[in-house]
């Protein structure tokens, strides 16, 4: 099938890239149209994008990679800058995932956002968001990638703050934007260093040259890591992600699954060959810490979306850790599987919120799990999809998450064995990685029980079981993607997955098979342990009481997300506020005053100039005109309207002439 498209990859890639942008433009132009029209157009375009991306991906995976460039601009004779597309297997997989999730989100949003007064703007922004992410995926150099990277940040800012009349949404969108900027500073520095060291930022050349052992390349790697910390919510910049829940729920699905946080992992996979071993070690530690902190923070949340947000942070930590230890295949694999089950979880949560919202029960928050419970009786399909995705996230067998997490954990285990000379750090990384497995099982079970099991803890006014088809279809499709079916022939062996054969690094291929089987047993036991503990604790719902001792400390830490926000408030935010108030004082008392004096001086000067203009320059002009006027008046009066004066003049003239003549004649 893909043969007929052979050789047209560039065209296909550009089509995939531009259709979402077209969707954005159409949505912006057709603002006032009906929801039906807008939703159908956006969803159709999104579906077409997915189909083309699928064809392109098959081409790329089966066929060759494509690098095509055109000259963007030239500085002088030798320095030219090219832009183009860099299409390899990674691009292919990412294109499919991004467009598929975007399609599902469009489909789901058609019903979910129904009734919102800015329906068109919402779909337009979805298009812009997808466009930016696709740009990142097909960009062929770091600078172009950075441009789209910033676009992703910007469009996520717009979407998180979509309900801009809510102050908390505005705050969250600003927070996401600013935290991302901090990370992007590192990215910019990295681009500059690569330009200096390699003379180019093109991936095709950078990949050929590969890693170069120099101090500055190491710094550049850390800079890239900074960008990834911002975009993929790694410690210590993960604080924006939980707040980003203020956006509409399908947007959260898009951000968490496909478009935004995936960008960081994608970047790491792209530039993997350029990262020095030291940087990779830093990445590993950061990833492990993030995975653990996210998991801990997730265990005591009561907002249905916050649990998922923290679990995303935790899973992103896994992926970053996977890159760090060298298991790029595992990381990409987990990125893909995570996209499916996290999108499914978020959309299921969206369905739950949607249903809770219909109950006209405004006593409690629609997203508070304490007011839910027993929903499996009312939303059976959502329960099933949520359960499958949760199992996948917890890493139970037959699920895609099991395969991919196993691949990463195997890498981590092997890395720990290889780096046993690090001592404490190596053990810490492994402990955190495997501890997070237990916690993942724990918090997901807790969430499933709180939401779906037991009795409903709020008054229901509408017990309808029906969900719109547009909502259930994406859920079912995504839940299918959360099982092993799409990814592997053998549900127990990650190495049999086609994604692993495509992407696994030499490091991963060298891992002996017995480690695989051992790691998967450990992970499974830990996961089941977490599930069991959670089941014991939450089987019967009890209103939480303040407990004492270790549990209370953990609870406090979890509820407050390690007090990171407070720490940042006390340190950076306060310092910045102080600095800015100082700057403001300087501004008001020094600069403004100088400006004022300059202004006053100008006014005085202009008064003087104005006076001289009025009285000197104008005076000369007036004098000239009045002189001319006077002369004209005199000249006019000689032949004017007054006959008597006319006669008088004539007489005087005659007297003068006669006198003159007489004088002339009688003189002699």
């Amino acid at each position: 099938m893909p043969d007929i498209f052979q050789g047209h990859e560039l065209l296909l890639a550009l089509t995939v890239l531009l259709i979402p942008l077209v969707s954005f433009v159409i949505m912006t132009l057709m603002k006032g149209r009906s929801e039906r029209t807008l939703g159908s157009i956006a969803t159709t375009l999104s579906g077409i994008t997915f189909l083309i991306a699928l064809i392109l991906s098959l081409n790329l995976i089966i066929g060759d990679n494509v690098y095509q460039q055109i000259q963007w601009f030239a500085l002088g004779a030798e320095l030219t800058f090219n832009v183009g597309v860099f299409l390899d297997e990674l691009t292919g997989v990412m294109l499919t995932v991004v467009t598929f999730i975007a399609f599902m989100v469009h489909l789901f949003s058609k019903n979910y956002m129904s009734g919102d007064k800015e329906y068109g703007r919402y779909f337009g922004l979805l298009g812009l968001f997808t466009f930016s992410m696709l740009g990142i995926v097909i960009a062929d150099n770091l600078l172009l990638l950075f441009i789209f990277w910033e676009l992703v940040g910007f469009s996520s800012y717009l979407l998180i703050g979509f309900w801009y009349e809510k102050p908390s949404a505005i705050k969250a969108s600003k927070k996401a934007f600013i935290v991302n900027r901090i990370g992007d500073l590192g990215f910019v520095i990295a681009i500059m260093i690569f330009w200096t060291e390699y003379g180019t930022v093109d991936f095709s050349i950078l990949h050929q040259v590969g890693y170069r052992d120099s101090f500055w390349v190491g710094v550049a790697g850390l800079g890239l890591l900074g960008g990834v910390m911002g975009k993929s919510a790694q410690f210590p910049l993960q604080v924006w992600l939980p707040d980003a829940m203020e956006g509409p729920t399908p947007v959260s699905a898009l951000i968490h699954a496909a478009t935004m946080v995936a960008a960081g992992i994608f970047l790491l996979a792209r530039v993997f060959v350029l990262l020095s071993p030291q940087v990779l070690d830093v990445i590993t530690v950061i990833g492990a810490i993030t995975a653990f902190m996210g998991a801990i923070a997730a265990i005591r949340q009561y907002d249905i979306k916050k649990v998922l947000a923290f679990s995303t942070i935790s899973q992103l930590g896994y992926m970053v850790m996977g890159i760090g230890v060298g298991a790029t295949g595992g990381a990409v694999f987990h990125l893909v599987t995570h996209a499916f089950f996290k999108a499914c979880l978020f959309l299921s949560a969206g369905a739950v919120i949607h249903w809770m919202h219909q109950q006209d029960n405004h006593k409690t928050n629609d997203q508070d799990m304490r007011s839910m419970g027993g929903l499996r009786k009312y939303l059976p399909i959502v329960f099933v999809t949520f359960l499958i995705s949760a199992m996948s996230l917890a890493g139970l067998p037959l699920m895609s998450g099991f395969l991919s997490k196993d691949a990463i954990l195997t890498g981590v285990y092997q890395w720990t064995l290889d780096h046993s000379h690090y001592g404490f750090v190596a053990i810490l990384v492994m402990t955190l990685a495997f501890g997070s497995v237990l916690l993942t099982g724990y918090y997901m079970t807790r969430q499933v029980i709180l939401v779906f099991v037991g009795e409903v803890r709020s008054k229901l006014s509408n017990e309808s079981k029906r969900l719109p088809m547009g909502m259930t279809i994406p859920l079912i499709l995504l839940a299918t993607g959360a099982t092993w079916l799409l990814f592997s022939t053998n549900p127990m062996d990650p190495t049999s997955s086609w994604l692993m054969t495509l992407f696994s690094s030499d490091f991963e291929q060298a891992i002996p098979h017995n480690i695989h089987s051992m790691v998967f047993k450990i992970a499974l036991i830990l996961s089941l342990l977490g599930i069991g503990l959670s089941y014991m604790k939450f089987r019967k719902y009890v209103e939480t009481k303040s407990s004492v001792g270790l549990t209370s400390i953990v609870n406090q830490i979890s509820t407050n997300n390690w007090y990171l926000d407070k720490i940042y408030d006390v340190t950076f935010v306060n310092a910045m506020l102080k600095l800015s108030s100082f700057a403001r004082m300087m501004e008001v008392h020094l600069i403004d005053r100088i400006v004022n004096y300059i202004g006053i001086f100008q006014v005085i000067l202009s008064r003087v100039i104005g006076w001289s203009d009025r009285h000197v320059v104008d005076g000369i002009v007036h004098l000239t005109t009045s002189a001319v006027y006077g002369v004209g008046k005199i000249a006019k009066s000689a032949q004017g309207d007054n006959a008597q004066r006319y006669i008088m003049t004539a007489l005087i003239s005659i007297i003068f002439i006669a006198g003159g003549l007489a004088f002339y004649f009688f003189k002699y």
Binding site: D641, N642, A643, Q644, R645, I647, M648, L651
Partner: protein, 100 residues
Amino acid sequence: MIPIEHFLILAGFLFLIGFVIVITKKNAIMVLIGIELMLNGANLNLISFSASDPNIGGQMFALFVILIAAAEAAVALAIILNVYKYYRTSNVDEINQIKP
């Protein structure tokens, strides 16, 4: 015999008085009267010189002037009458435009 200078002085006076009337009086009829005085001054002058002239060309000329003056007075009075009808005034200062 009265010397000719006396006549000439009287004629000059008459002419001057007429002239002053012409340039000072605002009423058009008074201006006309001034013109008559000037004509008579000129006539007197003609006749004075004619007295010592064997031909009577000067006297003949004076008769012509009187005749023309009579015709002129008639025409001028008619004009003044029409102007007065049109402008409702005979003040020469106010009659300063030709257009209707």
